[in-house]
Symmetry: C2
Subunit: 387 residues, 2 copies
């Protein structure tokens, strides 16, 4: 299989984009990525669109064709890819496999979600479809409730505290404050998190990522032609994906995500690196507990040791490892289908040295970690700068 | 890229499957395919699930993981693929590309749709999401209405008659009568079609495919290991996919589907055959006019000549070319995400000589044609028996 590089990325501002529909979000991110890659829209020969719930939230399915049409592409194969909150990461990985496997030379991965045209309650119910409708949602648990169960058990087993959960939110809001694309530009304190409204005990409002609109796009090409378009192509050095049971209760353990461990093991092996080689990582902090579990599942910390490390500031900008420099899902926002590709865009900018005020000093190797549902899907990609 | 063969296929009975939910349909088709392939469920290393509207129709998203979980797979990468009514064909083609490209050795493509748990009106509205929500559906046209426009223009330009449309339905019900998996086991007459309720002039009830539940699955492996599992592996000799505008009104012509012409040209070139080499074809007859357009787009007949040929019986079982031996969408049923993979299953059975009462005498080369929306997506695959 061929080596694959990202030569262009683009984002929309994330947030409540009342003025923008699916088409305008797709245009904004898609054109930005095409311009960043120095290619023509007519060059794109394959389009993967990551999106979770356009059918339920906007009554529009078939958004692969919609996106191809909107961007004026030359009738390429296009399709929507759905894996709940990992839809974007899955679309990116499919684009990677298409280029690596030889069926595409200019693949676009585009993620989009338009969530604020319905009520928060309708959006939350829609997101519940990421879990098990029959054996979880219909039994009365909400999607935040699933992560609350994981948090409670993590607290029970490892002594993790609510203040440590809050530390994740504070750090990610600090990072988002420096990111013009972020949903939130508001620094918060541990005290504010602790006093925010209870959503699903122990998770409070500020432990939860928001409902956002937004889109993100990336252009992938074979490495051997990448330098024709871009001086600093970013190699996808490793990629792994795994699935697990749909229902949380069917897992051996709920204090970590097995699919993420399997996916990251494959990605590390392919990239021939170990977790300690990673300088900058975007991880799936749909709820604060998820970032703590991610740090452990990805091997950055031993089981039960991540929460204290985060509290101690080891994962801040230019800490031992810089985590969620974009602000993560918590601070940058979580337009579901876009998130996995936004993660890649942030790593590309960090590895290029283009991350502005949030640029980390050393960024040679980056990683993205995108999770679907309560951990039924995980996608992990590893990125290297090619000088 | 590697040569790829199908070594196993499985179907559920299509129809109003009130007793079965998504999980049971997935089990039924998935296990049948695994058994037909003589492999273990643990062998599958990649799972593509074709589905259009589980979110809207059953409130369950994330059915890649649901299917992997249901079939007891070994944590493989899994995802849902959506391309409206071409979701199944797209999933099959993605599985083909994964094996051809070297990222999978045992890929499963599974298509499923559960449509009868909501009212016919809700299901039809959900299917409308295949078209352009903003510029078609919200303006008042229904999805049958889009194909009615195509039919009217075809009648105007080429003299196609309502009786010729009806001939498609009669033929496909005749074929479905011989297929134990088909939704309908009822032969109909031209007169009955003509007298059936008007849906969208000139399309009557019997010009329309039904709303069905069902699932279909196929197992794809590299050709060089296929004979270890199956004496008659079926080679995917060519595969093409293309997109077009989402909105019908944005096309140059509405008497044919450009995406199908682009996709089939690619597939024919890859397979190094011409249309006249095809013995048996499953084409996308969501409405009777669609089969007439397919015959022309695929090059089986010159523009404007297919309707008369169908009326003359040239596409019946063991005609000049045997078309929709399964009964097609019209007679076999149309559980949207399953359809494209059911088409492949029918061709596999025909090429193996296992199609029972509907077996065609000569079946060396087969073709499937799966369309999304009013033609915004088309997937065409070509199959050959490997002796």
């Amino acid at each position: 299989m061929r080596d694959v590089a990202i030569i262009g990325v683009g984002l929309t501002k994330f947030g409540e984009r009342y003025e923008s529909d699916l088409r305008s979000l797709i245009s904004e991110a898609g054109i930005a990525a095409i311009e960043d890659a120095n290619i023509s829209n007519k060059d794109i020969d394959m389009l993967y669109v990551g999106n979770m719930a356009s059918g339920r939230l906007t009554e529009q399915e078939h958004i692969g064709a919609l996106a191809s049409d909107t961007l004026g592409l030359s009738n390429p194969p296009s399709l929507k890819v759905e894996n709940a909150c990992a839809s974007g990461g899955t679309a990116l990985r499919q684009a990677y496999l298409a280029v690596a496997g030889g069926s595409s030379d200019f693949a676009m991965a585009l993620g989009v979600e338009k969530m604020t045209d319905v009520s928060t309650s309708e959006a939350t119910t829609g997101l519940g479809g990421a879990g098990d409708k029959t054996w979880e949602l219909d039994e009365g648990i909400t999607f935040p409730g699933l992560y609350a169960l994981m948090a409670r058990r993590h607290m029970h087993d490892y002594g993790t505290t609510e203040e440590q959960l809050a530390a994740v939110a504070v750090k990610n809001h600090d990072n988002a404050y420096l990111n013009k694309y972020a949903h939130f530009h508001k620094r918060i304190t541990i005290d504010e998190v602790m006093k925010s409204k209870m959503i699903a005990d122990p998770l409070k409002l500020y432990d939860c990522s928001p409902i956002s609109d937004g889109a993100a796009a990336a252009i992938l090409v074979p490495l051997d032609i990448a330098k024709k378009y871009n001086d600093t192509p970013i190699l996808i050095a490793g990629s792994g994906q795994a699935s697990d049971t749909l229902r949380l209760a069917d897992r051996d353990s709920i204090t970590g995500i097995k699919a993420a461990r399997i996916a990251s093991k494959k990605a590390y092996e392919q990239a021939r690196i170990s977790p300690s080689d990673v300088n900058v990582a975007e991880v799936h902090d749909c709820f604060t507990i998820a970032e703590i579990m991610a740090m452990e599942d990805l091997g950055f910390y031993k089981k039960g040791e991540a929460a204290k490390a985060i509290e101690n500031g080891e994962t801040k900008l230019n800490g031992k490892i810089s985590v969620n420099t974009s602000g993560g899902l918590k601070g940058c926002g979580h337009p579901v289908g876009a998130t996995g590709i936004k993660q890649a865009a942030e790593i590309v900018w960090q590895l290029r040295g283009e991350a502005g005020e949030r640029q980390v000093t050393r960024a040679d190797i980056g990683l993205t970690h995108n999770v679907g549902g309560s951990g039924s899907t995980a996608v992990v990609n590893i990125y290297k700068r090619v000088d």
